[in-house]
């Protein structure tokens, strides 16, 4: 059974179409990056998967209908939304008590263990913590829950680089295993690039790119083409070309890497570069749409 399976997922807010027929399938044990520009429908897609918003089309999360079974679903799913949403009036100890009280799979000792590595006091109120500490606290609560699916929507937005790195490190080292699935929506691609097993690009309510990292590595090649080889390289139909110091950088899909290596310096593109190439090639998108 796929962890998440969506077919023809649609959602409109008035005349604005947020999801325009999304099809996606996420298998268990994957770490999927859902990447898209602002307003592409990332949050709406995640909200649908979590049962926070109604939708049209078919959607199963862990085999359940999320809209009608949100509370049962949340026994096996955790999520951290884009900005700090922990109640500001609550004390750390109250949150531990409450989550322990209502969640059958919460391991308080584990949460205490994570908190012990931080400077967060049990008696502090959330409003007294810095933004980075609130995220640490939320992560400690979530990682102490033995869930099958973790959904993160811009979890590190507004955090400094130290907290961001720490966030993904502890998620990978202390939490992830093959029985869990993680879906991360973000536009800070660089930091999660190395942790992902799969990547999807979403643009204007549609999934425009869906690929595993292994496939990405074997299919896509970025070449810094030597000036004398530019014409030869263009003949191979690059999906994007940009100018850099000392030549053109071209991105190829499905062209033999041996061949490309003869044109210049060949390597696997970063997700950011691939994203820019794929999104700019979308019909109706101006060239050079940025992250």
């Amino acid at each position: 059974m796929a962890c998440i399976e969506a077919r023809g997922l649609r959602k409109a807010y008035g005349t604005t179409i947020a999801l325009d027929g999304v099809n996606m399938k996420v298998e268990e044990g994957r770490i999927l990056g859902l990447i898209g520009p602002n307003g592409a429908g990332k949050t709406t897609a995640l909200d649908s998967i979590l049962g926070l918003t109604p939708y049209q089309g078919q959607l199963r999360t862990l085999g359940r209908d999320p809209w009608n079974e949100r509370d049962q679903l949340m026994r096996d799913v955790c999520f951290i939304a884009d900005v700090a949403v922990l109640p500001r009036w609550a004390r750390v100890s109250q949150l531990l008590d409450y989550v322990g009280g209502v969640h059958p799979r919460f391991d308080r000792a584990k949460a205490e263990g994570f908190l012990a590595k931080t400077t967060i006091q049990r008696s502090s109120k959330v409003r007294e913590l810095s933004k980075g500490m609130v995220t640490q606290l939320h992560l400690a609560l979530v990682m102490a829950i033995d869930a099958r699916l973790l959904v993160l929507d811009e979890p590190t937005l507004g955090l400094d680089i130290l907290y961001r790195k720490q966030f993904y490190d502890s998620m990978l080292n202390d939490y992830f295993d093959r029985n869990r699935t993680i879906v991360v929506a973000t536009h800070q691609v660089e930091e999660i690039e190395h942790v992902l097993t799969d990547v999807m690009f979403i643009d204007r309510g549609r999934i425009v790119f869906d690929c595993s990292m292994e496939e990405l590595e074997s299919r896509y090649t970025e070449v810094k083409v030597r000036p004398e080889q530019v014409v030869a390289a263009r003949a191979l139909k690059a999906i994007s070309e940009r100018h850099a110091i000392g030549g053109s950088v071209m991105l190829f899909d499905g062209v033999d890497r041996q061949l490309l290596a003869s044109l210049g310096e060949a390597r696997t593109p970063s997700i950011a570069d691939l994203f820019v190439a794929v999104i700019s090639n979308q019909p109706g998108r101006a060239q050079g749409a940025a992250l």
Binding site: L73, M74, F79, R88, G101, H103, P104, D107
Partner: protein, 310 residues
Amino acid sequence: MNTQSNAIPDSPVEARVSAPAMIPESRLLYWSVQRELWESRSIYIAPLGAAGLILCGFLLSMFRLPSQMRAALALDPMQQHELLSKPYNFASLLIMGTTFIVAVFYCLDALHGERRDRSILFWKSLPVSDLTTVLSKASIPIVVIPLLTFAVTVITQWTMVLMSSVALLGSGLSLTTLWNELSLSQMWMNLLYHLVTIHALWYAPIFCWLLLVSAWARRAPILWATLPLLAIALVERIAFNTMHFAAMLGNRMGGGAEAITMQGSAPMDPMMTHLTPAHFVSSAGLWIGLTIAAAFLAGAVRLRRDQGPV
């Protein structure tokens, strides 16, 4: 407030061993109510504050008590009763009024505040249904606050009696008149009856209406809760020159007393024959009100499911 905490496994080890995949609904409800009490501390701080004020004022009045008592001894028992029970009735009215206001503001914020500060996204990430959440929030004005009002009032009045007794004994007066005429147990029975019938049952549709508006309004729930009602009454008045809607609201706000007591009877009848619970339970007004309250709650549950942060 912590009476059920014994039922909650304290040690994480114990919790893990017996960790069921399901948490009983009663425990979800208990923790949901607990969270409301953590968040809205005015629920108990306000009545305690009112009680403190009353006791301060009453303490100062102790200087006048012995002379008042001597004057009272000359009166007939009925007048004695009225004179002596006056501060006690005043105390219970003040505490009840305070908790009613707290309940109104609590309801207006209960489902709006969590959307305003976006914490609804955290609450919804936990396996607690919208029904449980809304029921826990409705139980605050309908169950928790009336019981708390009763407890605080009883303790306040009991303290007042002790203060008076000390003052009277200090000036060499007998306690017999005070204790006989106050009839505390009757006063408390009346209070409990009033709280259960009026504050919990008769006002339930008011609280549930406020919860519904709180779940629906994107901003200023207090205005959405009141202005449309005034508008309806006004339109009815202009269009039909009638006041049925306004009369209905007025009856709900202030008309409960007719339903629970017999008119014209002595309010302190020792046999409590002036209380008419059978009449109240069989009155159409009660059941129509409760039906409307249930409909409002069902609407609030639906809205909480649909609405995201504002």
